[in-house]
Amino acid sequence: MSSTHPSPAPASDPDSGSVIGPSLSHPNPGLASPAAASGNGNGRGHGQGHGHGNGNGHGTPGATPGQPSLVVHDLEHWFGSGANRRQVLDRVNLTIHPGEVVLLTGPSGCGKTTFLTLVGALRQVMAGSVQLFGQELAGAGRRERQLLRRQIGMIFQGHNLLRCLSAEQNVQMGADLLPGLGYRARRDLSRQWLRAVGLGDHLGKLPHDLSGGQKQRVAIARALAAQPRLLLADEPTAALDSRTGREVVELLRRLARDQGCSVLMVTHDPRILDVADRLVEMEDGRLAEVSLSGRPSSGSVG
């Protein structure tokens, strides 16, 4: 029943612990949901029903409908101390709602990457507030941040795949983070995701034998296989030629949207700005909303 459903894949209800998979309608119409393929019936009817129930095409994976995925309020960060103290982020504010795709641009060294590591729970918040899915990151301990990171997918400038694992096994390193799924279910899920990014014929290949664009697509599949609610991407197209970069970003946006997963993507690539729902620009540690026509609007984002 799932394979012919015309609408984008419904989101799951995280409270029910259901499983969602890659898009049902793209790119392969015959693709069955990994949830269905995995034999875990739990996700199907319930998740589907829920998705229709709240009438939201993107789905609302948040605990409460309408709750933002990410709320950053007056975030500050600096390196060094005393006279050497260098302010990197200065009262940054940003809110991202479920399913939104936000692009972050700015000159190099302006603090974009630091911002990503803070939002990604990889760094301790010094001042201000970062709320991920309603949970405050400021003051969160190592263990809390590690658990929160399981809900965040990360795609890096380099693909950062594990060299000794095949494409399928790399993706399964993401799927292995899902609780309550058997080995076979997780493996099938990984295969579905690789097919969804168009690498169904390269399951057993090592990263060494894949092209740059293929590696980045494996990285996307790996990030999505853990069913994140927020996807952070740092210049995912930097190492790719323009056509491949374009394909990868569009794939990323489509799959993320189908999962109701928000995306925050840092990029320098002007050719991919149009995939964004919103565009923000960072300069000297400050963040400003940019209208999609290209001119910075006044005031910071709240």
């Binding site: 990604g120 590690q146 990360m154 890096f156 060299r163 000794c164 694992l165 390193m173 080995y183 740092d234």
Partner: protein, 390 residues
């Protein structure tokens, strides 16, 4: 199937890290196996030498053994009055005794005419000397004067006696300058102190050593009635007998001999040190391999941490790598050890065999080596900072 038995199965990262870098794995396994072989060799030699010192001791048909208190080892047995063995017979728990002469004599190789020291054991033919069944019957031929039984396992330097004997040749040669005839073969094996052995009657023995004080022996074997406790009988006899004899249980006598070689020679130290060197070399190799493996994959470990894998789980990956290396490296070491032991047995006639305790000991050492190195390499994993990978 496996899915039901083991639903929590994860990607076997440790296994893949090792096997997808076959060059590095091969170097690691070669290093571990080398260390293991070295340990098997050194410990095998050490235990073999100690065991070899008691090849004859272990076969004595005795529960208790009388020796002179001046005797420190089997290579220099002092004599004591034979009367003491007669006195022992008075004890109700004693079933029988065997007086034994024991000394090193010069044997002339009948082929090359060179001489070499051989251990001669003299006793009354028909008396039980060794526990080997059938031996008593074969010793009957010794009642004829000038006859000896030659140990077929003696080192070849004594001459091709077993081959000649089996060809049916009459073998006559000199022992301590007196003519003797080989009347048969026994199989005892050389010991640490003796390259070869011969058995003869007390009468022949005394004719070979005419200067021996009359009524003295080097060894007294005592057999007890069934059910008697050797330790308590030994204590009782010790109290009754004068100070010119020392009394041991059979096991105590074996330990006494081994202890001589252990404490008054450098053998134990040398070979234990050799085994320790193997341990150290192996540890260094495994640490180098694991450390460079962790260093090479540091960005990948950081990526896994960024994905939400907890550090202890990644430490477990390194620990499992160590465990796998230990298991994979031990197997070739054990097999090569078996082969080497065969070579040693053939080359030296030492009783070296792959026994359970030593197999376990070497496995324990390899395990400690690999897990210890993994533990050291884990510290490197602390350098993986997921905040650095963006």
């Amino acid at each position: 199937m496996l899915d039901h038995l083991w639903p929590d199965r994860r990607i076997p990262l440790s296994w893949l890290l090792l096997t997808r870098q076959p060059g590095r794995l091969l170097v690691a396994l070669a290093g571990i196996s080398f260390a293991g072989i070295l340990m098997f060799l050194q410990l095998g030699f050490r235990d073999g030498l100690f065991d070899a010192s008691v090849t004859l001791h272990k076969r004595f048909a005795a529960d208790l053994v009388l020796v002179s208190p001046r005797t420190m080892s089997s290579i220099a047995m002092a004599s004591f009055p034979r009367r003491r063995l007669v006195q022992v017979m008075a004890d109700p728990d004693v079933a029988g005794t065997t007086p034994v002469h024991w000394n090193f004599l010069l044997w002339r190789n009948p082929q090359t005419r060179t001489t070499r020291s051989i251990l001669a054991v003299g006793f009354e033919p028909g008396d039980p000397l060794f526990t080997d069944p059938g031996l008593v019957e074969r010793t009957r031929v010794l009642s004829q004067r000038g006859r000896v039984l030659f140990d077929a396992l003696s080192r070849p330097e004594f001459g091709p006696i077993p081959a000649w004997y089996k060809q049916g040749r009459t073998i006559e040669t000199e022992v301590a300058g007196k003519r003797v005839r080989v009347a048969g073969l026994v199989e005892l094996g050389p010991s640490f102190g003796a390259d070869g052995n011969l058995l003869t009657s007390s009468e022949t023995f005394l004719s070979l050593m005419p200067d021996l004080p009359p009524g003295s022996i080097e060894l007294g074997l005592i057999r007890l009635v069934p059910g008697a406790d050797p330790a308590s009988v030994a204590a009782r006899l010790r109290a009754q007998l004068p100070e010119d004899v020392a009394i041991y249980t059979k096991q105590g006598f074996v330990e006494f001999e081994k202890n001589y070689w252990r404490s008054s020679t450098a053998i134990g130290f040398i070979f234990t040190l050799g085994a320790a060197m193997g341990f150290v070399v192996g540890s260094v190799i495994v640490y180098q391999i694991l450390h460079s493996d962790v260093s090479d994959h540091l960005p990948e470990y950081a990526t896994l941490m960024a994905m939400g894998y907890p550090l202890p789980q990644l430490l477990g990956v390194v620990a499992r790598e160590g465990l796998l290396l230990a298991l994979l490296g031990y197997l070739p070491a054990w097999l090569a050890g078996q082969g080497l032991y065969v070579l040693i047995r053939n080359g030296t006639k030492l009783p070296v065999a792959m026994d359970g305790p030593r197999s376990l000991l070497v496995f324990g050492m390899i395990l400690a080596m690999c897990l210890g190195s993994a533990l050291m390499a884990m510290r490197k994993l602390g350098d993986a900072d997921p905040a650095e990978i963006f």
